[in-house]
């Protein structure tokens, strides 16, 4: 495995992990906001 392979793994892993976490948070936000009544969901 050449140096470049590890570098690519580093970048890909970092961004996919962050992206996956972002999706997880967004999905949870959507799921929860179906339960909570609208007037409590005023965001700035």
């Amino acid at each position: 495995m050449s140096d470049w392979a590890y570098i690519l793994i580093a970048w890909i892993a970092t961004f996919t992990a962050t992206g996956a976490y972002a999706l997880y948070v967004i999905r949870r936000g959507r799921k929860l906001s179906r339960i909570v009544p609208p007037e409590q969901r005023r965001w700035m």
Partner: protein, 301 residues
């Protein structure tokens, strides 16, 4: 973190279906553009480094993630102190959301460090000061998340996480000092420290670009994660109203069936049962959500 821009004039737009808002859309777009530019610079445009060679490209991942993680733990510590002082839900949820993101970034820091190590030392793990410190602190904050996951009342969970948040952040400098003295004696090649000072031109630009992009990502994640935590608490309160109404119904329905044998107690219970129950049923039960809902970040009433 609390962006308190004034609200758009009425008519008030329909409530968003998720935790998105104008602020997060701006931050989200900026982050995506930033990531694209960072990839371009980090992997294509910037040259390899005189000493570090190609491995400097992993540095562009490592420095931002460790900086974001430390920022996250500082926010957790501030949130914890403020929670113990002010006792308002906002600080507790902010501390918890920030800690979770911090642990994610610490995990990425360790991953990048190991990949960097594989290239430079040929092995994934060396008891090198930076890597060791990160691993120890990672475990400390894993403890924070584990303690928070234990089912208990929100008040107890808030106090316990606040205490852990403070105990853990105070440990950071101590662990740094101990590990530096302990492993610092063997001066292997180590790049982590601060950004490599003699970077020039595009390399320096890329390093700072990386830092800014990850700060944007961190802000975006924190706002969303906070709002999810906020919604989770509100979802509990929704459940609470239902439970409260049900509990009162149990009071009236039960009036006639309670176990005391004597007749007189029964009919007195029935006749006046609905009086007090109705009076206090409709007033909003979750006062606690009101008085701490002032922050711009969370939903304002």
């Amino acid at each position: 973190m609390t962006t308190t821009t004034s609200r758009a004039a009425s008519p008030v737009p329909a409530a968003p279906t998720g935790t998105g808002s104008r602020v997060t859309r701006i931050l989200g777009i900026a982050s995506l553009i930033g990531v694209a530019v960072l990839v371009l610079y980090g992997l294509r445009i910037s040259k390899e480094d005189a000493q570090l060679g190609e491995t400097i490209r992993i540095l562009y991942m490592h420095v931002p993630t460790v900086s974001a993680a430390y920022l996250a733990f500082v926010i957790t510590a501030v949130g914890s102190v403020m929670y113990l002082w002010k006792r308002s839900e906002f600080w507790d949820l902010l501390a918890a959301s920030s800690a979770e993101i911090g642990v994610l970034f610490f995990a990425l820091t360790i991953l990048n460090g190991m990949l960097w190590g594989k290239i430079t030392w040929g092995v994934f793990w060396r008891w090198e000061p930076r890597l060791t410190t990160t691993a120890v602190l990672f475990l400390t904050y894993l403890g924070y998340l584990a303690a928070r996951a234990v089912p208990t009342s929100t008040r107890t969970r808030g106090t316990i996480s606040a205490v852990i948040g403070i105990m853990a952040v105070v440990n950071i400098p101590i662990v740094h000092k101990a590990v530096d003295w302990w492993r610092g004696l063997h001066q292997e090649k180590t790049i982590f420290g601060t950004v490599d000072p003699d970077m020039k031109g595009t390399q320096l630009f890329t390093a700072y670009l990386g830092l800014t992009v990850f700060m944007l990502i961190f802000a975006w994640l924190l706002i969303h994660r906070f709002r999810v935590a906020w919604l989770a608490e509100r979802a509990n309160d929704v459940g609470l109203d239902a439970a409260l109404a049900e509990r009162r119904a149990e009071g009236t329905a039960d009036g006639s069936a309670n176990e005391t044998a004597d007749g007189s107690a029964n009919e007195t219970a029935d006749s006046s049962a609905n009086g007090p129950a109705d009076g206090s049923a409709n007033e909003p039960a979750n006062e606690s959500a009101d008085e701490s809902a002032g922050a711009g970040l969370g939903g304002a009433r």
